[in-house]
Amino acid sequence: MATASARAVGGKKRVLSPSAKKARSRNLRYGIAFIAPFIVLYLIFVLYPVVQAVQMSFYDWDLLGSTKEFIGLGNYERMLWGVNIAWSMTHMFWVRLGLLVVAVLLLFTPVKSKSITAWRVTGVLALVALAFVLGFHPGENGFWNDPDFWVSLKNTLYFTLISTPIIAGLGLIMALALQGGRRGSRLYQMAFFLPYILPVSVVTLIWSYFLSPNQGLLARMLEPFGVDPISWLANPNTAMTAIIITTVWWTVGFNLVLFAAGLQDVDATLYEAASLDGAGRWRKFVSVTLPGIQHVLLLVMVMQVIASFQVFGQVNIMTGGGPGTKTKVLIQHIYQTGFRDFELGYASAISLFLFALMLVVSVIQMKYLGKDNTK
């Protein structure tokens, strides 16, 4: 009884009876007791490291030395700037033009309806800013302070952009093939899902050898088709492809499961209605299935992007970032900067850059998923 009233009080009413006051402090006590173990660990191991990273990023912080020198924004300058950096209109022209076009398109509806949301303003401004920033490039005899940072950023984005649609698409196709709960579909789902549970080092163990030109099964399997053995991981043109193939094989099952769950939520009567209208398979897929699993599709994309930004294990074990820097990714750059080159301060700065990048993705995710939620 007391609890019920306490709840009501805690909710809205502002005038407190003595008993309610007591219940309130009791609730506070219990609330704290229940969340304390989690919150303490959360503060120490999740939030505090971010603060610590910010602090470290302002220092020349040696991994093995006792010297820590405050260098202000030095690490950021090293990361983002270079020698003889110039700005020109034409550098990466088409990409930047594309960004500006998107920004203009985003303004289209607001101009028509004469109202604009804060979100959209931010988005448009961000796109314009990005289009401006991308104009910077090393001028004559100039170079970036840390070209590996840009290379690994580029590789990370490339990996993300290529692997995400493949993984999402293949997952969806598999889920569609298994749709309908036929006999045995559960077994097939298990088969496709199986690789996902393997530890990363087992996946790399399998694939490093599977792809090997001399010992690998793949070269042998392709032999009858007249394909010469390819040294996938050592060839600069194929190394990233090999990493992506490995990743797809490893993780697609996870997305298959998500899609399968999503497909079950699609209202069956919609299919029937579509059938009555004489819709073919493709038509049904486009007008019933796709809208029905929109939220899962988005979710898969976002999860995949977040996971891809943090790709590390398969690259570190299979190629070590090579050949050259062809497969070097951001987390690996952080790892090497910190643990091979001793520079923890600079490594922290790159970590924070990655954090910021992912924050942007998360914000977009929140925005879209939030929208989906209110639907």
Binding site: V51, W61, L64, G65, S66, A234, G320, G324
Partner: protein
């Protein structure tokens, strides 16, 4: 409204975490053993450790050379070693079984040389480095200057440093103190499939005919390709240093160097340009290719798709024992006007420990000394050069199979990488630009110019 609230919360939490940060303090610095003042007493204490105190001490070791426990478990007969890994593992087993103090060695981790340093650094920074570890000559300064290695007087412990070659004696020093015990030196060689060279007409009196100029090298490559259809040379390029070492060798063979005497950058030189142009000619003629890593280059050569493998001294015994075709080894050919071949060396160091326990240090030094006293075993089992004059001049060494084929390298050609501060970083800057040339077709001049500016920036 809710959003505002959440923002406010995040801010206040961040503030709280800041407070925590302020209390947290800094990370650990270097242990006292690294500082010169504390060192004298410590050295005396280490020297004073008695055999009794050493009884039953267990120390940890971290090393490269890989894992091979399956084939070496319980083996103490060094004659059974067929590879670098087996040789060091069997030597360790032997020490465990035979040392008079009953010291036991435990291995800390396993890795190849590529990822070895990452793990080694993490172990130091984590506060628990191994008691004894191996390093390359060029990496010594990185740790010595940070006070992470124990300096000691070899004579105190009966380590006959005077028997070491001049280069070896120099290589274990930093700033006038000794930080390591030498173990070997190793250089780039040509591992030859004599069957293929025979077919190509490049064998005379049972020995490979080495080119003596770039033109001869190209002609030989062409002949090998036309007569046998094979590559002249397999070389590790992806995630491997073999082509970099070849470049280093070619520069040195022209009397060039990548750093001047004073340590300043000399990357953008005529010699470097010529070396790169020559390597490009080999690549463009499809006499060598850049699509192999270390393992891939070995596989290719072992599967008889190439005549020669560019690899180091460390593989001589292994290939002699396992090759399924006619095998021999020769000096890396001198194609420019001076003899030179890339070289480096391995050594053993004692990382400083937090507790500075003299007994542990002493046990580690005893093990390092044992390894130094067994460099003959190591070099005979692998193909490395011993750092000890007495070994190099011994009959057993001189009569060992194939060694006479590369005495030139041992005596004359051997050209060590510069032992300067941050060589790893400098090398990486240059190597990156070379990879731009090999993988992305960057113009040689542009690559060398950029490498020059970058190294200048680094050495400034």
């Amino acid at each position: 409204m809710r959003k505002m609230k959440a923002l406010a919360t995040t801010a206040s939490l961040a503030a709280a975490a800041m407070l925590l940060a302020a209390c947290g303090g800094g990370t650990s610095g270097a242990p006292e053993g690294g500082s010169p003042e504390g060192n004298k007493d410590l050295n005396a204490a280490i020297k004073a450790v008695t055999a009794d105190e050493l009884k039953g001490t267990t120390i940890t070791m971290s090393r490269m050379f890989g894992d091979c426990e399956e084939t070496t478990q319980g083996v103490t007969d060094t004659a059974k070693a067929t590879s670098e890994c087996e040789a060091i593992q069997i030597l360790t087993n032997k020490f465990n079984a035979e040392n008079e103090f009953g010291i036991k060695i435990e291995r800390l981790g396993g890795s190849d040389w590529n990822s070895y340093y990452d793990a080694f650094n993490a172990s130091i920074a984590g506060g628990e480095p191994a008691d004894v570890a191996n390093l390359h000559d060029y990496a010594l300064s990185d740790y010595a200057k940070r006070g992470q290695l124990l300096s000691f007087n070899p004579a105190d412990f009966g380590i006959e440093m005077s028997d070491a070659t001049a280069q070896a004696q120099k290589s274990v020093q930093y700033d006038g103190s000794t930080y390591a015990v030498p173990f070997d030196s190793h250089a780039l060689l040509w591992h030859v499939n004599t069957d293929i060279l025979e077919q190509a007409g490049y064998m005379k009196d049972g020995k490979p005919v080495s080119p003596t100029s770039p033109e001869e090298f190209l002609q030989m490559a062409k002949d090998v390709k036309e007569k046998t259809g094979k590559y002249i040379m397999s070389v590790g390029v992806a995630n491997d240093d073999m082509l970099w070492r070849t470049f280093f060798t070619f520069v040195a063979q022209q009397g060039g160097a990548l750093l001047n005497e004073d340590g300043s950058a000399n990357v953008n030189s005529a010699e470097a340009k010529k070396a790169l142009e020559f390597i490009n000619q080999l690549i463009e003629g499809e006499y060598i290719h850049t699509n192999a890593d270390y393992a891939g280059s070995i596989d290719e050569w072992k599967n008889e798709k190439s005549a020669i493998l560019a690899n180091g001294t460390w593989a001589v015994n292994e290939y002699a024992a396992t090759s399924t075709f006619g095998y021999t080894v020769v000096d890396f050919p001198t194609v420019f006007n001076q003899s030179a071949a890339w070289a480096s060396s391995h050594m053993w160091v004692m990382p400083t420990q937090k507790d500075n326990d003299p007994v542990q240090y002493r046990a580690a030094i005893e093990f390092a000394k044992y390894l130094y006293n067994n460099t003959d075993t190591w070099s005979l089992a692998t193909g490395h050069f011993s750092p000890r004059v007495s070994v190099i001049n011994s009959d057993a060494y001189l009569n060992a199979p194939l060694r006479s084929n590369y005495t030139e390298t041992a005596l004359k050609n051997i050209t060590f990488v510069p032992q300067v501060d941050n060589w790893t970083a400098i090398k990486s800057l240059i190597h990156t630009q070379l990879e731009e040339v090999w993988f992305n077709g960057k113009a040689i001049d542009a690559a060398l110019t950029e490498a020059q500016s970058r190294v200048e920036q680094q050495t400034k």
